[in-house]
Amino acid sequence: SQKIEQNSEALNIQEGKTATLTCNYTNYSPAYLQWYRQDPGRGPVFLLLIRENEKEKRKERLKVTFDTTLKQSLFHITASQPADSATYLCAPGGQTGANNLFFGTGTRLTVIP
């Protein structure tokens, strides 16, 4: 069955450093992969989408890579700030044309001032 795993449940880093989150998937051939941010008591908010034919995508301090051979995506936040503290979710999608999204286990990031 499909499995989507994110590297760690929780990640603490110092302000100003780069946070790197990992998403691994198995039994899956996604056409794209999305990253979402979720704050406590709120629904997830879309951040970035990267397609299978793209190696890297950037948006401001965010960078996402997608390696379909390794079945892995890396999500980087550079120059991290305490306001970046949240749970980050990956979601591979578009398999066999389906539009529904399945989410990874999530990584709770805490940026320490």
Binding site: Q34, G43, P44, G94, N99, F103, T105, G106
Partner: protein
Amino acid sequence: SAVISQKPSRDICQRGTSLTIQCQVDSQVTMMFWYRQQPGQSLTLIATANQGSEATYESGFVIDKFPISRPNLTFSTLTVSNMSPEDSSIYLCSAGVGAHEKLFFGSGTQLSVL
């Protein structure tokens, strides 16, 4: 983009009763989805709410327990039937906009069953 209003935001219910959660989108959308998020966990897809046809349920979820309505392109409801404490969770409505790839979420309904 889309703004999704979900209500109630929270409720405390007695075992054996049912609760209907409403989800309103501020624009017409083709795809709507219902997720469950148990405490400290990630999101689990319950079903896809299809306009004009029956919802498509994921493994482990059945229509008798989670009936879904989708009367038009902006509205959907999820009912949690015959509730037990195991149903205590956050229920989230979402909609796919444009090419349906990106999802917008409501703020969720926090359900506690006593």
